[in-house]
């Protein structure tokens, strides 16, 4: 009797283990397989994160099946195992074949429509059958095309970001067309409305509608600026115009006395930022010396003075005069001048009489700012075909230390032709702003140009156009359909596993129950 009982106990355990085991390799195995197929959608690019959509769909099918199983178990408690197994299997089959049917009918026809739609474009849209086979490599090509653009121009995510606050501590404004226009933006000038550059893609702005001081472009801003810039150039070229000359003329006209720009320069706002005298030497202690920029925020006028933040002529004169006066008093430097003078006599013939004489004059007298300027004038150095003068030197310096106060409009705001104005903004942002934040968009070398990195070669206008068209088209269909293509690949191969496992699990449960009922009979003292 005891032996008999042990055999039955062993059988019970075997059936129970088999039941659990077979149940556990149905849907879970399917999800495991799906992880490989959906994982191919990648962690970057337009399909990034859509693998979760695929898991969700299959997991929901699993939940529905479990729910049906429980309900069937309760309602049909007394019914045969076969009936219960049948109902649950039917539900599982519907749950699994459904997505395949949906794809074969709906998605296939959607793809045919898309194929027709893009047949005239440069983008080659693959047939459904090819997409089904190659979705993983297409998703990865999308990701690498995007990644290549991002790294070439050293961009910061899709929508960019700031590396810190504005120089003058004025607020940064996150804004996109369609949002309520924040009150903190300036109010426009001379009958012109306030202008926010690139509002249709948005970004982080200063009060004047330019990007905030340390705003690093994201994919969307870089694309907007480059497209605008390249399109304007192409259009002008097609019409035989020189857009850069037009811009130079427009800016020259604005610099003339009486223009709207020169009028603007006399306003309080402009004078506060760029006026000659700083309001004070140190931040204000009391509210009287603060100005209200927003409803309840006050800012210290001290910080709004733009001359804190760029290299002025005064600053250079001060610097050079201090250095030269110290050198003039140095015995070592006098000795050095003597050595250099002697050396000049030796190599003078190589340098030419004019330069030798200019250098000799410099070395024979005390050094000063004026002496250096005299030297500059006599050297007649040529840069880009033009002789470098004192003004030219500051022009060069201003490029390197450029600063536009966030509280005033830039000169480009006043260009009356909106297309030319936008071109000017794009050029300024791509060149100067980009050079400041280490994300140059326009130039012979672009992207990450810093003290220890020399940037990348730019992409041509054609390359960019092709890239953006590809990404645009792929953005519309890949995230929507690709998770389904991953599901399709998994289901076609492995869907059959699920019903088999369900049926076997019910059979094993039935076998377990049979052994179990014999056990209870024995327990009651019944005979075999």
């Amino acid at each position: 009797m005891s032996n008999n009982l042990n055999v039955i106990k062993a059988k019970l355990i075997v059936w129970r283990v088999l039941k659990v085991l077979i149940y556990a390799i149905g849907f879970p195995l399917l999800l495991h397989r799906l992880k490989a197929d959906a994982g191919a959608l990648g962690a970057y690019g337009v399909t990034a994160g859509t693998a979760t959509t695929a898991y969700d769909i299959i997991f929901k099918c699993f939940l529905v099946m479990v729910a049906v199983q429980i309900i069937v178990g309760i309602i049909l408690r007394k019914k045969d195992f076969y009936i219960r197994a049948l109902i649950v299997t039917i539900v599982a089959v519907i749950g699994l074949v459904g997505p395949i049917m949906y794809m074969e009918i709906n998605i296939k026809s959607d793809f045919e429509k898309l194929e027709a739609k893009y047949s005239s474009s440069d983008y080659s849209f693959d047939r459904y059958e090819l997409q089904v086979m190659n979705y993983a490599s297409k998703a990865s090509s999308n990701a690498s095309a995007r990644g290549n653009f991002m790294s070439t121009y050293n961009l910061d995510g899709d929508n960019g970001g700031t590396e810190g606050g504005n120089f003058d501590k004025t607020p940064r404004i996150t804004y996109k067309e369609g949002d309520d226009l924040p009150k903190i933006f300036l109010d426009g000038y001379g009958g012109r409305d306030h202008y926010v550059f690139g509002a249709e893609v948005g970004g982080v702005y200063s009060m004047n509608g330019l990007y905030a001081d340390a705003f690093v472009f994201g994919f969307n801003q870089a694309r907007y600026i480059l497209t605008l810039y390249n399109d304007a150039k192409a259009k002008a070229k097609a019409e035989n115009r020189d857009i850069d000359q037009e811009l130079a003329d427009a800016l020259a006209a604005l610099e003339k006395p009486g223009s709207i720009w020169t009028q603007y320069q006399t306003t309080y706002d402009y004078q506060r930022a760029y006026g000659d005298a700083p309001v004070r030497d140190a931040p204000a202690e009391n509210d009287e010396e603060k100005i209200t920029l927003d409803d309840d925020k006050t800012y210290d006028e001290y910080w709004l003075w733009a001359k804190h933040y760029y290299v002025t002529k005064d600053r250079i004169v001060e610097l050079v005069n201090k250095l030269t006066s110290d050198l003039n008093n140095s015995a070592a430097f006098s000795e050095l001048k003597a050595v250099l003078n002697a050396a000049l006599s030796l190599v003078g013939s190589m340098l030419g009489t004019e330069i030798t004489n200019a250098l000799k004059t410099l070395l024979s007298n005390d050094l000063s700012y004026e002496a250096f300027m005299d030297l500059l004038n006599s050297l007649q150095l040529e840069i880009d075909g033009a002789v470098l003068t004192e003004d030219g030197l500051y022009e060069l310096l201003s490029t390197l230390s450029y600063y536009n106060s966030p509280t005033t409009y830039p000169i480009y705001y006043f260009i009356s032709d909106p297309d030319l104005r936008d071109y000017a903004y794009a050029k300024y942002l791509g060149e100067k702003h980009g050079a400041f934040v280490g994300s140059v968009l326009i130039g012979d070398s672009v992207g990450h140009i810093t003290m220890d990195s020399s940037g990348s070669s730019p992409m041509s206008a054609t390359e960019l156009k092709t890239l953006f068209e590809k990404l645009d088209i792929e953005d519309t269909y890949m995230p929507k359909y690709y998770p389904w293509l991953a599901i399709r690949r998994t289901l076609i191969k492995y869907a059959g596993l699920v019903p088999v496992c369900i049926i076997l699990a019910y059979l094993f449960a039935y076998a377990e129950r049979r052994v179990f009922s014999r056990l209870t009979v024995l327990g009651k003292g019944g005979q075999k």
Binding site: F167, P283, Y309, L327, L336, T520, L522
Partner: protein, 431 residues
């Protein structure tokens, strides 16, 4: 009685393979953090912070003993199999939560706090396994700081006292504080707008560098304790000082002027290169550079010192122009290391937690095992005395079942047929 002795021995063994083993291993693992004999570094002056990890181990041991005592006491008092089982389960789950569970929570919630507190300069993942190296780095910071400041006389007492007492020395502590305050408020917070973030964030562009060097900045205000260098006499000992961008990163910038292009084959003549070399070391040039170096800190120029060094490298055939920051001379580190250093005692405390991380994760297995052994021993111990009552439900012997409904609920123990478990289990199903 003999059997009872054996059980006591097993219980003792269970207690020994549990926490004492964990503690021993934790102490062993913590040694490189506390005092690394191999490298001679030592964080013991950060008492009691450096022992934070071991203090936590000790506290957890106490908690474990408390729960072990309570569950043991309940089993002893109730004398039921169920109470032994429940006691074992409670102890095992508690051990797991106490060891692995606590670390699950730390692993989840501490990483963002740590990277925030260190401005993303120390990541949790850096510490997980590599804590010994990190402890070494932080210990070295203290030794190097003391040596730098003995050398520049900011620590002007007996050097051996500073070297022995290290962080316990009040003067050292104050100097760390004032050094950090100066570089934080008069440098990090004193550069305009976004510049310093851009420099630290891999965007040190030429315009950013020019702004950093030449823009106007607010006056410094943090006293820089005991500093008389750069020609400042005793009267300016504690006055505030300004810092240049190079100090923030303590990086030497080097420009290489290659003479090959200029002089070509001439350079191959030893005499020519000797002339260049001699010229560069001459008083005329070195004295002039000294004049420039002295002028740079004036407000009209940079407002903060940067030392120019001019040398000739014969192998490279180049004149090397080096721009050297003043921070080392002044006795401070770059900003990132200075920020760590200011809260070094806290970082050392955080680092001291990591040697016990793996110990706790692996130890959770050991504790669960020892809890189980303890539970088995308890059951045997009390059953051995014949006091343990068998019963699936704990109150079987306390609350009599209604006689009218023998099939309902709990099943009474049948002393006539103690082995027939199936009759109980299956005949009267649970309700």
């Amino acid at each position: 009685m003999k059997k009872h002795k054996g059980i006591v021995l097993i219980k003792l063994l269970a207690y020994l393979i549990g926490f004492p083993a964990i503690v021993a291993y934790a102490v062993l693992q913590s040694m490189p953090v506390i005092k690394d004999a191999a490298t001679g570094t030592d964080n013991t002056s950060y008492f009691p912070y450096v022992y934070a990890g071991l203090i936590i181990v000790a506290l957890m041991w106490l908690l474990y003993l408390l729960v072990a005592f309570i569950t043991g006491h309940i089993t002893k008092k109730r004398k039921t199999v169920r109470s032994a089982y429940v006691g074992t389960a409670v102890l095992a789950v508690f051990s797991f939560l106490l060891t692995a569970g606590v670390w699950f929570a730390i692993d989840k919630y501490v990483p963002p706090i740590l990277s925030d507190a260190t401005q993303s300069t120390i990541y949790y993942s850096d510490l997980e396994e590599d804590y010994a190296d990190r402890a070494h780095t932080h210990s070295e910071l203290l030794s190097v700081f003391i040596e730098m400041n003995i050398a520049n006389n900011r620590l002007s007492g007996d050097p051996e006292v500073y070297r022995t007492e290290k962080y316990k020395n009040k003067e050292v502590q104050d100097l760390i504080k004032s050094s950090y305050n100066s570089i934080n408020d008069d440098a990090y917070n004193n550069f305009n707008g976004p510049l310093i973030n851009m420099a630290n964030g891999g965007r040190l562009t030429i315009p950013v560098l020019i702004h950093l060097l030449l823009d106007d900045r607010a006056e410094p205000y943090q006293p820089f304790t005991n500093y008389t260098g750069e020609g400042r006499g005793e009267e300016h000992k504690d006055d505030p000082i300004t810092w240049a961008i190079l100090d923030m990163q303590q990086e030497i910038m080097q420009v290489e002027l290659n003479l090959d292009d200029l002089l070509g084959s001439l350079l191959q003549d030893d005499m020519i290169s000797n002339v260049i070399s001699t010229l560069l070391t001459s008083y005329a040039i070195q004295g002039t550079i000294e004049t420039i170096n002295n002028a740079i800190p004036s407000e009209e120029i940079l407002g903060a010192p940067i030392y120019i060094e001019l040398t000739y490298d014969q192998a490279l055939a180049s004149v090397l122009i080096k721009l050297i920051p003043s921070s080392e001379k002044r006795g401070v580190f770059d900003y990132m290391r200075m920020a760590w250093f200011d809260s070094n005692y806290l970082l050392v405390a955080v680092i001291s937690l990591f040697p016990i991380r793996n110990t706790f994760y692996i130890g959770s297995l050991l504790l669960c095992l020892s809890s189980l052994i303890l539970g088995v021993a308890r059951k045997k111990q009390y059953a051995g005395h014949g006091k343990m009552l068998k019963g699936t439900f704990s109150h079987a012997n306390e609350i009599p079942l209604p006689q009218s409904n023998p099939n309902y609920g709990r099943i009474a123990y049948d002393p006539q047929n103690p082995n027939n478990q199936y009759s109980k289990t299956y005949q009267y199903p649970y309700v």
